[in-house]
């Protein structure tokens, strides 16, 4: 309640400054990339790019910063099934969100299990296009979507100011390359497996412009063999009685 009121207060401060916030895209710029970091990043991206389909299970946490500065952390587990270029299923279970997103090649469906409601977006395009469209048009973030895009290298470096190779570190018991990124509104860190499977292991995003600088942390729990994926996985399963509702686009007021 206190956190909510604080957010309302801050939102109100912002809203009183401006009546019509508008969004514009950051101009692409070339980040200052440490060559060592670049090599790790490209190797990881290539390993993901090569796979047309994938099944990931990830665990993530996000901080909810309270009015007094305390951070309350919420956790979720997400199962992501990907078949490029345009099929996807993301099932999320956890403290705040219990929902599933399906893309069957024609329609994107978001189902909220707690409220038993769903919404459809027709013709979402490829996975990359859908991720961008959800952000630009609906202000809806798709956590872990950085693992889904066709070119992970591009996703992680676009809009980024600098990338530093920090060193070798550990995620659990596995030795990983540790990279640190700096961007305008976020800083992020990526851990990439240092062995013969150079995939992403963990990512931490710090929202440095937000009060209390909340952090999102995602760790790979499991990567499964995708060879047995059936098309039916991407077909939505909406329970009887679920209500279809609309999804509101972000207001364009400028």
């Amino acid at each position: 309640m206190v956190g909510r009121l604080f957010r309302i207060a801050l939102s109100a401060v912002l809203l009183m400054f401006i009546a019509a916030p508008a969004r514009s895209q950051a101009a692409p710029r070339k980040p200052a990339i440490d060559p060592e970091a670049d090599a790790v990043l490209r190797q990881m991206s290539d390993s993901l790019k090569g796979a047309q389909s994938a099944i990931f299970r990830v665990a993530d946490t996000i901080d909810d910063v309270q009015a007094d500065g305390r951070k309350i952390q919420y956790a979720h587990v997400r199962e992501l099934t990907v078949q490029r270029p345009n099929k996807l299923k993301v099932e999320t279970r956890g403290d705040v969100t219990n929902r599933t997103v399906w893309m069957d090649g024609k329609t994107l469906t978001v189902y909220d299990k707690d409220k038993n409601v769903y919404a459809e977006i027709p013709e979402p395009g490829t996975i990359d296009e859908a991720v961008d469209m959800l952000q630009d048009k609906y202000n809806l973030s798709l956590p872990a979507s950085d693992l889904l895009c066709a070119d992970v290298y591009k996703s992680l470096t676009e809009g980024c100011g600098a990338i530093e190779y920090v060193g070798l570190g550990y995620v659990g018991e596995e030795k990983c390359h540790h990279l640190a990124f700096t961007a305008d509104t976020i800083d992020y860190q990526l851990w990439v497996g240092a062995g013969d499977k150079p995939g992403p292991r963990k990512i931490v995003i710090t929202y440095k412009r937000l009060p209390g600088q909340p952090q999102y942390t995602m760790q790979l729990l499991k990567k499964e063999d995708p060879s047995g994926i059936k098309d039916s996985v991407f077909e939505r399963e909406i329970p009887n009685g679920a209500e279809k509702i609309e999804i509101q686009p972000v207001a364009k007021t400028e």
Binding site: I8, A22, I72, D184
Partner: protein, 404 residues
């Protein structure tokens, strides 16, 4: 309850700052790599087995018991107590769906809040009003320029910070001829006590100073304030208000430079969702939030959160009212009510209106009747129809037109 009141007082300060500011400027990141304590890097990737030697001391972290002990040894005293535990996650309106994607966050990073509006004046001329703002970790800044039909302009810029119950701001307004008015102020909120001071300096260096204090405790509020003009003349005011079993009572005394004084007192009652005014009392008379463009009374006593009926017109907003824009129109909202400001006969009034179409709340409206019309579920409260919809990734309740 006490912490809630304290928060309301804090919000009063926040809104005061918001009233003072009216836009904000872009704050760009450094663009360079962060240089935290993970500085040193190994000589080569082949030989390293761990991070470089100048990393943070990892042995200093990871124990709540030890961290607490360190904290005590730093300060010599235990930290102030935290307010009660927040609501369970299931009841929260925390929007988890705004996080977790680098691609999307970087894509949105260019979204510095900005606006550019045009309006037609009474004589037909076009006025433009544009501005930009940023909020970064409790620090806000803005700039704004209003240009008239003949190119004359007024610009303003300002900054504000809110940190752990302390707020400060400064602002400068520059007129068409280059003349400027600057304002700066500070406010603190601690344990239900609010203190502030403010100084306004005109183009000729003349200044007006204001300072005040207010306390809120167990439904009793007290305040005093003093305004000192350029010549040292002062006006002071003090007042008290109590809320007891739905009845509000207040008294106030204003003393002028010559010692002359004006006293006023009043009472009112809160019944159900309607606030009925007493013989003398005035809704929001004590501690109202000023309309946009004027300076709210920072140190004024927070008003009693009344819930006036739809259709009423009140002379002041309840403390904590938030400015919102719905479908391009500006409103204030508080306690489930929306207020539309209007300037009539030299004074601001606020019409209490039904939530406008397009307004959103994140929890089911209290007391809503649920009806299914043409297969769509509506939530109806006092003639306002809400429909569930995904808004910013959250299932929300959106005000829609009456479908019947």
């Amino acid at each position: 309850m006490k912490s809630k009141r304290c928060l309301i007082a804090f919000m009063t300060v926040a809104f005061a700052l918001a009233g003072v500011l009216s836009g904000h400027a872009a704050q760009r990141g450094s663009g360079s790599a962060s240089r935290g304590s993970y500085q040193a890097r190994p000589a080569s990737s082949a030989s390293r087995s761990s991070y470089g030697g100048s990393r943070a001391n990892a042995g200093s972290y990871g124990s709540v018991r030890q961290s607490s002990a360190q904290s005590r040894s730093y300060s010599g005293a235990s930290r102030s107590s935290y307010p009660s535990r927040p609501a369970a996650p299931q009841q929260k309106s925390f929007n988890n769906e705004q996080y977790g994607s680098v691609r999307q966050a970087n894509r949105a990073s260019g979204a510095q809040p900005s606006y550019n509006r045009q309006a037609t004046g009474p004589a037909g001329g076009t006025y433009t009003d544009k501005g930009r703002a940023s909020v970064d970790n409790g620090k806000a800044s803005y700039n704004r320029e209003i240009t008239g039909p003949h190119g004359e302009s007024i610009s303003s810029e300002g900054r504000a910070t809110v940190d752990n119950g302390k707020a400060s701001y400064n602002r400068e307004i520059t007129g068409p001829g280059g003349e400027s008015i600057s304002t700066s102020g500070k406010a603190t909120v601690e344990d239900g006590k609010v203190k502030y001071n403010r100084e306004i300096t005109g183009p000729g260096g003349e200044s007006i100073e204001t300072s005040g204090k207010a306390t809120v405790e167990d439904g009793k509020v007290k305040y005093n304030r003093e305004i000192t003009g350029p010549g040292g003349e002062s006006i002071s005011s003090s007042g008290r208000a109590t809320v007891d079993d739905g009845t509000v009572k207040y008294n106030r005394e204003i003393t002028g430079p010559g010692g002359e004084s004006i006293t006023s007192s009043g009472s009112g009652s809160i019944t159900g969702t309607a606030f009925s005014q007493g013989a003398v009392g005035r809704v929001g008379a004590v501690g109202a939030v000023a309309p946009v463009g004027t300076v709210p009374r920072v140190g004024a006593v927070p008003a009693v959160p009344a819930v006036p009926r739809i259709g009423a017109v009140v002379p002041a907003l309840p403390t904590g009212a938030a400015a919102v824009t719905v479908a391009g129109a500006s409103y204030y909202t508080f306690g489930g009510r929306y207020y539309r400001p209007s300037y009539v006969n030299g004074a601001w009034n606020y019409a209490v209106i039904a939530p406008p179409i397009g307004a959103t709340v994140y929890v089911e409206p209290a007391g809503a009747a649920v009806r299914v019309i043409d297969g769509v579920t509506y939530y109806i409260v006092e003639g306002t129809y809400y429909r569930r919809s995904f808004v910013n990734g959250m299932v929300s309740y959106l005000v829609v037109a009456n479908p019947e």
